[in-house]
């Protein structure tokens, strides 16, 4: 890891959902895993998240949603990234996501969905293998 350029990750809370525990824990955890992590804080519009991802030149965007509004919010983020030719950014999703919605999120281009009980190490190794091939 250390000789590579540090992987940059944006952890974002789209929409009005105020549940912040997971997003904060993942942000701290990935930071300790050696990534460069930027956390947006609450209540970010999809547009703001897309422009932050591009401005900060991140490799990964992690979206945390527990309000049930994930489908429409994530679709907007994915569309936004696409329209800025930034769809090489790996998008991860965390929160409370009903199993029935997983295929729809994957179809939108979400790389992986991590729900409750996930180990931070597992998220970290997913990111590494995705960006460095292991």
């Amino acid at each position: 890891m250390s000789q590579d350029k540090k992987i940059r990750i944006l952890i974002a809370k789209p929409g009005l959902d105020g549940h912040e525990r997971g997003a904060r824990v993942v942000a701290y955890g990935l930071r300790d895993e050696g990534f460069e992590v930027i956390y947006t804080g609450l209540r970010q519009s999809p547009e703001k998240i897309v422009s932050a991802a591009i401005q900060e030149d991140v490799d990964v965007v992690g979206l945390s949603i527990l309000s049930g509004a994930h489908l429409s919010l994530i679709r907007k983020v994915m569309d936004g990234l696409k329209s800025h030719d930034a769809n090489d950014i790996v998008v991860l999703v965390g929160g409370i996501i009903p199993e029935g919605d997983l295929p729809a999120l994957k179809a939108l281009g979400v790389a992986e969905i991590f729900t409750a009980g996930t180990k931070i190490k597992d998220i970290a190794s997913f990111i590494r293998s995705r960006l460095h091939g292991g």
Binding site: G15, E20, R21, R24, Y28, G29, S67, I120
Partner: protein, 601 residues
């Protein structure tokens, strides 16, 4: 002190005066002998660094002053409970004989928490519930759009309208919901509860305006608005304005309620949300009480005297965990700390000012439940129920075991929850004794330690300038985030064990599966179409209302908001009555107050 204690019948006095010193010396000597001859050899035999268990003696209780530190149930400092017995305990036998179900409450009581869709959707649902005999007062969940001070046509609203609660954009919407509450369920007969914080002033104004329209005197209105904005900055996240102007709005509601709606509770202070967001037990206790102090100060700054308004403060709940002893100690310590604070620091004379009034006491907290082998959550909830029953509360087996499986609880899970509570009350007789841990060397020392640690944390906050300052400088939100992460690390490193999650997950274990039939609480078709329909309702309102009157009321609010001393409630009532929307009102205040900025890590 010793002489006083000796005169009190029925109290077992462990130690007093000269006798105490003699006795303590003896115990100390015996303790050393026990450690050397019994404990240490055993520790050595098992090759341990230290003993995995502890034993408590009178030596651990620094100051065993019963009357000052424990006292009687229903008397200062309320360590042993707010009452000798609660109202539900008085009727427990009747309830069992008549088969009373606590899920909806009877007329005159708080109804079930809920809300969805458009106001008309929710009204129709409530009417249906009333026809089934579920006749408690409105206990309204608002959607996130309303909670964050937006209207259903805002760009922020997309995908959120009517989802986690009912959408309320205007007084018209509020009135539609209350069409389900007339006659013997009118607002002078049933209480109204509102889970609303940042726009609490607007919702309280709607309640007052509704009473005016129905010619019901304001002093007849009962209920509880959550109105606890500070914990939103620390944990729950539905804030709008920065902390200081938010506290001005609290002051204004506090003064308005005290003067005109004296039967209404002023707030419902929550440590629950803070703990669920990751706070430790001590942070939960210290931050909640620090927030409470800030609210008291706001009331005093508004010109009220302490006993005028403090009795109308309530607490939602502190957080919970699986650590049963610690949770009982927290409840005992919290009651004593609040009582002392109110009496000694704020000079309260009325004992009702000194009590932590909360609907439940200890519990495990939803974050103690696991997605893995979910029936285990019933065992967990029973532990919380025992802690509650032993700390002055109803032994609620909260939450239902299927809590982590997604929104809604199955009928089976709710049945088992009720039955577990009943088994604790009627079969185990958990609630037949007040504060059964009083006088325990262990529990008294744990209560003292909890109090001491929380006071230390509160001192730290006090030195920063109080809760508001400790939010502005990011201390409280960051401390909670940090604690959440520390706990996560402990679980990942197996320093703490969660059964079925990070231990006992091998191939010998059976993945106990359950059939969970979840009925839709609310009509999915209505949920799906709520946003479009509510946007239509809003458009119609904007077309039909007297826009001149709206503009005039908003302009007046703007002018008054700029004067810090002015109580904004009358102006907000005018806006509400003129059919200004919730967002229009909040936007005026956003313009004057600014908006809260997200906390970075």
């Amino acid at each position: 002190m010793g002489a006083e204690l000796a005169r009190t019948p029925g109290i077992e006095v462990k130690s007093r005066g000269m006798y105490m010193d003699e006795e303590k010396k003896k115990i100390k000597k015996a303790a050393r002998k026990w450690e050397k001859e019994v404990l240490l050899p055993r520790v050595k035999r098992f090759n341990l660094k230290e003993t995995p268990t502890r034993f408590y003696t009178p030596l651990e209780v620094a100051d065993p002053n019963f009357l000052e530190k424990v006292g009687f149930p229903g008397q200062y400092p309320f360590t042993a409970g707010n009452n000798p017995f609660d109202f539900w305990r008085a009727y427990a036998v009747d309830a069992a004989k008549m088969g009373y179900r606590p899920d909806w409450g009877g007329a005159g009581q708080v109804g079930k928490y809920g809300g969805f869709g458009t106001p008309a959707d929710y009204r129709d649902y409530l009417k249906r519930m009333h026809s089934m005999g579920r006749r408690g007062g409105p206990n309204i969940a608002f959607d996130l759009v309303t909670q964050c001070g937006y209207d259903s046509d805002s760009t922020y609203a997309e995908g959120e309208v009517g989802r986690v609660g009912v959408a309320v954009d205007s007084f018209r919407d509020f009135q539609i919901i209350y069409e389900a509450y007339t006659g013997d369920l009118d607002i002078d007969k049933v209480p109204s509860n509102y889970t609303i914080n940042a726009p609490a002033a607007v919702i309280i104004a709607m309640y007052a305006t509704l009473a005016k329209k129905r010619s019901i005197p304001l002093n007849k209105l009962r209920g509880t608005p959550q109105n606890d904005i500070l914990k939103e900055f620390i944990a729950r996240g539905t804030h709008i304005y920065p902390p200081r102007p938010s506290m001005r709005l609290f002051r204004d509601t506090c003064v308005f309620c005290t003067r005109y709606m004296p039967a209404l509770n002023i707030n419902s202070i929550g440590g629950y949300h803070i703990r669920e967001a990751g706070a430790t037990r001590i942070q939960d206790l210290a931050f909640s009480l620090a927030n409470g102090i800030a609210y008291i100060q706001a009331g005093l700054e508004g010109g009220l005297s302490i006993d005028e308004f403090a009795p109308k403060f309530t607490f939602n709940a502190f957080g919970g965990s699986m650590e049963i002893y610690n949770e009982i100690a927290l409840q005992r310590a919290a009651r004593r700390m609040w009582a002392r604070l109110l009496k000694e620091r704020f000079g309260a004379k009325d004992e009702r000012s000194m009590m932590i009034r909360q609907p439940i006491t200890a519990h495990i907290g939803c974050s103690s439940t696991t997605l893995q082998r979910p029936l285990n959550n019933l065992a967990r909830a029973v532990v919380g129920g025992i802690a509650a029953g032993m700390s002055g509360g109803i032994p609620g087996a909260f939450p239902p075991f299927d809590e982590p499986l997604g929104l809604g609880h199955s009928l089976e899970a709710v049945q088992l929850q009720f039955d577990a509570t009943r088994i604790m009350i009627y079969e185990a007789k958990v609630t037949d004794v007040n504060d059964p841990w009083a006088g325990s060397y262990f529990m008294e020392s744990l209560t003292d330690a909890t109090e001491e640690e929380a006071l230390k944390e509160m001192d730290k906050i006090e030195k920063m300038g109080g809760a508001v300052a400790a939010i502005e400088n990011g201390y409280m939100p960051k401390a909670v985030a940090r604690s959440a992460y520390e706990r996560q690390k402990k679980i990942e490193n197996q320093e703490e064990f969660v059964v079925g999650v990070n231990c006992y997950t091998g191939t010998n274990e059976i993945e106990v599966s359950i059939n969970r039939v979840l009925e839709d609480t609310y009509d999915p078709e209505l949920m799906r179409t709520a946003e479009e329909r509510q946007k239509g309702n809003l458009e119609q309102l904007k077309r039909e209302r007297d826009s001149k009157a709206v503009l005039a009321s908003l302009k007046s609010l703007n002018a008054q908001a700029k004067v810090e001393e002015t109580n904004l409630m009358p102006a907000i009532c005018e806006c509400v009555e003129s059919d200004a929307t919730l967002q229009e009102i909040c936007d005026v205040l956003r313009e004057v107050f600014g908006e809260a900025q997200p906390v970075k890590l």
